[in-house]
Symmetry: D2
Subunit: 364 residues, 4 copies
């Protein structure tokens, strides 16, 4: 399968560039009969938009979703479902320079080599964070399908920005509060501190990184296909398709390194006649299969590569060292906008695995 | 593609169980004409064997590799290359209990639900670490192909076991020393301390986790297929097929969270007429493509789930809580044996991506 | 891979319905740097349009191709190339009846069962011949790529309509004349007789079938991937995605049944210093690989299922037998319009195989 | 997916060469719990063996099937099921010549070019009819699964050999009699005449072609995945992986060309409260979906390429024309031995499609 497609039964194929005609996705394998409300899709897609906070990019895109195929009489038909949003607010003035003088932290240099200079460089083209618009479009469909068929709920939130971190938080607060502020942190006090980190970055012409945690609740036991299509394999593959993601860990994650087995093995118990784990260090996944406990994972996002400070680079034509000031419109921290993106892609992966495993049997 | 296959052009399909007939792999897409020496494969495969140190499992498997297809006159033919090793030292006595009383930290419980009790439970069956024998078999082929065609060198080593960690080490020491001791740590002093952590675990009837770092040297610019087949996506998908891996990070990884962009962007320079990055926080990957700098990533492995201590579990037939002591033969720390596994799978992924991108053009 | 995608490296993913928003395709795996002229695509797409002959459907669609992604500065970028054409002339009045009373020869009945009634029934929805518009869009790209990179020429023509058949014809006449008349027959006299067959069908409220032959000239030796991705396997898979195709044969095809090996084996000779076959009964393919001789195959298309005559059917709601007169706008013979469709899909398949085999190395 | 794998959910990956270690297959996606009796597999595999009739090859292979993985306690486990049979009766003396002087009708010439001379040429290597041994191994599993889960019965038989043809025959005779004689023709009188055609070929140092018809009975409505994974697309792709197959037609097939729609549309009726078609010209498939009527298709096989007569060829090293007499052990007609191969692959394809469409829900 080609590199713009993800999934086995429930497959997304994404297309579009930052400053091209638009961004879109074909979703194949959607069961027939799922009710589709374009307003509901738009609502989820809007969670990724920069909003009006002054710490975000000045590019104003409506991200208006159009259904190009696959829906009839308000329901899916079993045919491929295509969603598309046109780019409206495009300004490519600053980018031609970067073909010659690559921006540190961006794909300019390897992309030019790989595509022999033919890649679309406007607004970073295919390497722009704007491509994640496709992930929330298809994510809206997947979230609905998971919810309607299995009652599964996918919830991501900002866990860390710079030095500000939320250590633990109740799942119900995440459920209710995560989209109540722009930084997507369910604890309003921490959210304010996170915002300050971003403001500091912006004022310094700098950028800052962070961590998103994703929790999937009400997961049936036994979703996942070992060996290579394990829940962890498939989720990680998807997450690294989000620009800026540089790491992922499940459950205790890197905390496992300095642990004894007796401390971190999740022992079993019976609660209300059901088998449960007494702890969830495994993040709801054993042997690549869901255990019935919530899936828990975290992804780290690096600081936005585009910063206003002078940086060292090279002139690729003259092959000499030079300096560069990156222009254009950018978010000083991409973490908040990536929260619904993580949710969407997580839902896409789990829908695919649930269909593969025959766990989703009925939609209507 | 099904869940026991990995790759797009250079594809591995793995099979076998811990206590079944054996472990094997079909490698499809190997270019014709690659010289194959079964002794060379065996040598790499042996690096995964437990060895004679007294801190390892007592199961003694020869892991003798047989070529079932795809090689003729000492070279690959373009036909699928099949490698197989029979299981010889099998003792399944203790495992039947775990169908009824699942071991904490193992896949017993979700596997039983998913496969309705029909999964092979002997020695953990398909969920055993023994399946990674297939990964070193195919890894030997991929390493040779990468080395012959592109001069790429894949090197993993043990970076952390429990509380003992190696902070930084010269790449040449990794190259020369990583397989000189059983813990697979290129610094002999640190290696001794790591061994003590494992001994402590073993004496306590416990187990311990750790971190493996993998470095890929001499990488051409532009390997990788964005979006979903990025280097990070494909490597992470593969790594999570190694039992016990619970996290992966590239370059600075989770360290990006608390960083400013200006600190961590890799600025460019020119050295000896070539474009290089002044730092390598990105781990040799930007936009999912290789930058020409070494690929650097780390995976965390949880402590072996099988420990000798009493653990709480449940009796799934009587649906009541109970206690369990896990028997069988186990490594108190799986990290050292996973080092060649990480190398092997990394080589498989990069071979596939190099072939996809047309970077490998000639083998002979 | 899902059922709306075809190919391994050069992949098409098609979408759209007869009376929906439009018809489109994502082409993934197009090498960067291929010059793209939308007028050239349109020209090839237009060959599939019904034209103005009075023996064709009255539905008038402009089939205006829009590029939604993947082209920049007149060249491909390496990103997915998306083509789309909106449906303009839609009349769905007659179709609702067929959900209840299925049309003989159409997919109405099995589609209703499979999709539980949710399939888009307007104009046959996803089962309409209109979906082949996507095949000529991507075919235009593939034809250009094959031609630019390898000089390969794909030529289809109408070999038979009803009782009128063209027995043999010179390849240069096919090259020059096949699109000179509406029936797509390179022999003008036979073309006139073919047209009469269609006129007869139309006057009788009936329809008629036919055969298309496809010849691929200037093919390098060794394209194709045995076993399952042989040239024959891949071409046949593609051809049966054209509605109405019910058979395919290569070279001598069904004529092989009543033949002795000594009559039909293609013996070798040397001509102008090159190895050639003295005959081409194999249709240019041995062992699933191209031999360097022209690829030759034929597909049979059944008569258009929609006819004006009274037919027996059933009322699926009342579960009783009934009669049906099919309304709507239809071609009495679909063969001529399928000629560029066969060409386009053939080019898609061969491009994919040539890229897989490393035969295409350079585009520019 | 690579060229030695077929299928999407129920996937086969085949390996092995004619004179190598053996022939095998990994079947992935077999539901857990299917009872497996190796004797039953062997029984079906034996139908492909040449038997003792004196018109067959003198190569005597036991084709003894060994299960290498995926079965435990007599049932499938959900893990990949691997079957393998070692080659025992190998004689490669005559083949080295054909690397230099390619046999007409064989893959020698294009294979040498494609694989740069590294392909295994012993006994035609990967291009031998012996690879179809893998298809009957996996076919035995698929036939059982289809039969147990859905009551589907797959039956192929020899319809034509040379000039001898069986025009129509009752399905019950096919069911009972097709394996009662070596030519696999359910009409004993016609079978004798067919045998005479083969004897004639053999006496003349020649070979002869033929046609196999395959009928699938008791098919549920709605199996198949349009567009590219239609029943016809998937079956044809599989059939062309059988060496010597050069054409396939469904239902009326090439007979559609000279037909009016009103003659060949399958009208509907109600029989015993169920919707049925009054005729079955469509071969049980409309819009790529099963209609509930029997699937009917025919494949044509060319005469065995290896004949004892002198043939013209070329010396590829000296680049001059020469003559060749092909030696080795061959069947003068491959059609009878291909009958269970067609059955097996058909079952594999339908199992995959039935699983994809959710039609198979329960195995046990």
């Amino acid at each position: 399968m080609n590199s713009n497609s993800l999934g086995h039964i429930f497959t997304i194929t994404v297309f579009g560039e930052s400053h091209g005609t638009g961004i879109g996705v074909i979703i194949d394998g959607v069961p027939a009969g799922l009710p589709i409300d374009v307003a509901e899709i738009q609502e989820f897609v809007n969670l990724r938009r920069p909003g009006t906070d002054d710490i975000v990019t000045q590019r104003q895109e409506e991200d208006k979703v159009e259904i190009l195929s696959g829906v009839f009489n308000g329901r899916t038909t079993g045919a491929p479902l295509t969603l598309f949003a046109r780019n409206m607010d495009v300004d490519s003035r600053h980018y031609e320079l970067y073909r010659r003088v690559p921006r540190p932290g961006h794909a300019d240099y390897p992309a030019k080599i790989k595509y022999k200079g033919y890649n679309d460089w406007r607004g970073s083209g295919r390497f722009s964070g704007r491509i994640t618009l496709a992930y929330v479009m298809d994510g809206a469909i997947a979230k609905k399908l998971l919810s309607d068929a299995l009652g599964i709920e996918v919830m991501a939130y900002t866990k860390q920005i710079g030095s500000v971190k939320i250590d633990s938080i109740d799942i119900d607060k995440i459920r209710k509060n995560r989209y109540r502020n722009y930084v997507r942190c369910p604890d309003p006090k921490v959210a304010m501190k996170m915002r300050e980190e971003i403001v500091t970055a912006k004022l310094n012409g700098d950028s800052v990184g962070g961590v998103i945690e994703c929790i999937v609740d009400n997961v049936p036991v036994g979703i996942g296909e070992p060996i290579f299509n394990s829940v962890e394999s498939e989720l990680s593959k998807a997450m690294f398709s989000i620009p800026a993601v540089k790491g992922i860990e499940f459950g205790l994650g890197f905390g496992f390194a300095n642990s004894w087995g007796s401390e971190v093995n999740d022992e079993y118990a019976i609660r209300n006649g059901k088998i449960v784990a007494r702890t969830n260090n495994s993040g709801g996944i054993l042997g690549g299969l869901t255990t019935g406990m919530p899936i828990v994972f975290r992804v780290v996002l690096k600081p936005t590569a585009s910063i206003a400070k002078v940086q060292k680079s090279v002139d690729m034509e003259e092959m000499k060292e030079t300096e560069l000031v990156v222009k254009g419109r950018h978010d000083p921290c991409i973490v908040p906008r990536a929260v619904p993106v993580v949710e969407g892609l997580t839902a896409v992966v789990l829908t695919d695995l649930a269909l593969q495993g025959g766990v989703i049997k009925k939609v209507l």
